[in-house]
Symmetry: C2
Subunit: 332 residues, 2 copies
């Protein structure tokens, strides 16, 4: 039997318990070429909130009654002549919030559990890691000496963005919520400055801590923080729009950045990104990230909660900020 | 004696008569290497509204009591051993709103009145022309087959943006105010579609006339039109932020584009531009523009009003839209 989480209705604002429902269904027989994967960990990501909306986006919405889409990692427990995957293989997939998954292997890839523990493949070596890598290197195009501001800086993506920028010789200022996270940025990750948006006035803090302005703003949050950051752009600055977690549960319109004319004055660029576009280069990126990890130059944390039945409460931690690093649900 | 228009106080909202005052002052003696220029035409541009604000921008603000900054064209009537300019030379300068100007020649350049009448050098062969040329070719990076949307499409910049895009094999949709302007776009300039924002619902019109979405949006106006255009972006679209005339006289905050997350979904780029950055290539651009003009492939209009004493009323036409093409004040 397979316990599954299905989308039951589209939320307005913050998702509540009625947004999803659980079902336990028998596992069908495998067709020729399919494998059965037992999920060990499920990835919880801000982007999932977007996939629940019925609108055109970079992937189709999750339909009502469908298993909630999510990244997952698990092991093949049965293969019906799959050409590449065999029993015991460790597989990363878009398997969704469920205990088991049957797949022909599309959009799945095999990883080596002896090189890194499974949760790392959903974090630093998975989507968030790839997002940080391609976002800061290829979209922001950082160069030595750049001043880089990143929001959601203690999160799965932001923490890596800041560290990669440090590795490339940039000055890095991180914005995060709470003293604990800011201490982590400064003492563990080697950021140059940290701003606690929960206790500091964001404009004042930016004036004090970005005295020379910023060359890059990597935005994971949107809203007021994006708007404030725009006032600090230097000539030819780049703003990467990676996410807007402050706006995903709005019942009203998204708050647009009223300071966008700073782009004109400073000949700056604001560019959106979706990590899926870089899929052909994931391998090379993961290799470089892995090397940095082994050299102790790239740190990552996973915040792991247990039990598929605790999906809802755990998911909300993405929006309350009550987590540190990559948020993961342990299924087995 | 030299009649001059001085900035008298910084306006909030739409400038009124008290924003400026006239003075008539004697013309000082020329120093060694200076020339005296008699202005014939003064350029009226939306950017002038920005220069009146006391804030950091791409040029310093006009100070209270200073001659109002403006582009101008006129003739040298006296030279005190200037190395390059002699009596009778036709000179484009930042001479400001006044009848005469004394200059050592900085940021001035000589033009040939036999090739084009003076007003053209403030329009299609001046700043608006250069803005259109570099904005659509180098910032938007148009390529054959692109679908290009331009606002302020009957204006000095927009009308050229659209024509250059047509010359390069793009489909062009223009947004302008009023039937007269829309007819001009369709019948004179060869645009593919025109949207009258004064009589049409902008979202409905975009849905109807940009069925396949847009690859480029060239924005001169900001506000609601920018926000609506963002909903039509195609993959890897480019938005050029050239101006925001709908917002320049706001007493409150600028309206930010709440649909900016379309940049993320569509991996699109929003980039600001200031034409001054392209100064070293003006010559080459003007040559190409001139060639297109001679071949009848690039049309331009100047809307010329007379009398330096009518500056205020004429300037307001920029914001009411009650003009066609490049707005110019004839001084002599």
């Amino acid at each position: 039997m397979n316990k599954q989480l299905l989308l039951d209705k589209r939320p307005e604002g913050m998702p509540d318990k009625d947004t999803w429902r659980y079902e336990t269904n028998p596992i069908p027989e495998l067709k020729e070429g399919e494998v059965l994967i037992r999920h060990h960990y499920i990835s919880l990501d801000p982007a999932m909130r977007g996939w629940m909306m019925d609108r055109k986006s970079y992937v189709p919405p999750v339909e009502i009654g469908e298993v909630m889409r999510a990244g997952a990692i698990g092991k093949v427990i049965k293969s019906n002549n799959h050409p590449n995957f065999k029993e015991g293989d460790c597989i990363v997939s878009w398997g969704g919030v469920q205990e088991y998954e049957i797949t022909s292997g599309e959009n799945c890839y095999k990883v080596d559990e002896t090189l890194a523990p499974m949760p790392k493949y959903l974090g630093v070596l998975g989507m968030p890691g790839m997002t940080a890598y391609f976002g800061i290197l290829q979209v922001a195009k950082i160069k030595e000496g750049d001043i880089v501001l990143v929001s959601g800086a203690a999160g799965a993506v932001g923490s890596l963005v800041g560290q990669i920028a440090k590795l490339k010789g940039c000055t890095v200022i991180g914005i995060a919520g709470g003293k604990h996270k800011c201490d982590y940025l400064l003492n563990e990750l080697g950021f140059d400055e940290a701003i606690d948006y929960k206790s500091e006035d964001i404009m004042e803090a930016l004036h004090a801590k970005c005295l020379k302005g910023i060359d890059v703003y990597f935005d994971n949050v949107g809203g007021e923080i994006l708007n404030a950051a725009l006032t600090k752009l230097r000539l030819n600055a780049r703003v990467v729009i990676c996410g807007a977690i402050s706006q995903y549960n709005n019942k009203k319109e998204v708050i647009g950045p009223s300071n966008y004319l700073s782009l004109l004055v400073n000949r700056a660029t604001m560019q959106g990104m979706v990590v899926l576009d870089y899929a052909t280069d994931y391998g090379k990126a993961a290799q470089e990230m892995g090397m940095w990890m082994m050299q102790g130059e790239l740190k990552s944390r996973e915040d792991i909660y247990e039990g598929i039945e605790n999906f809802h409460e755990t998911f909300l931690r993405l929006f309350s900020g009550d987590k540190m690093g990559k948020l993961i649900l342990k299924v087995i």
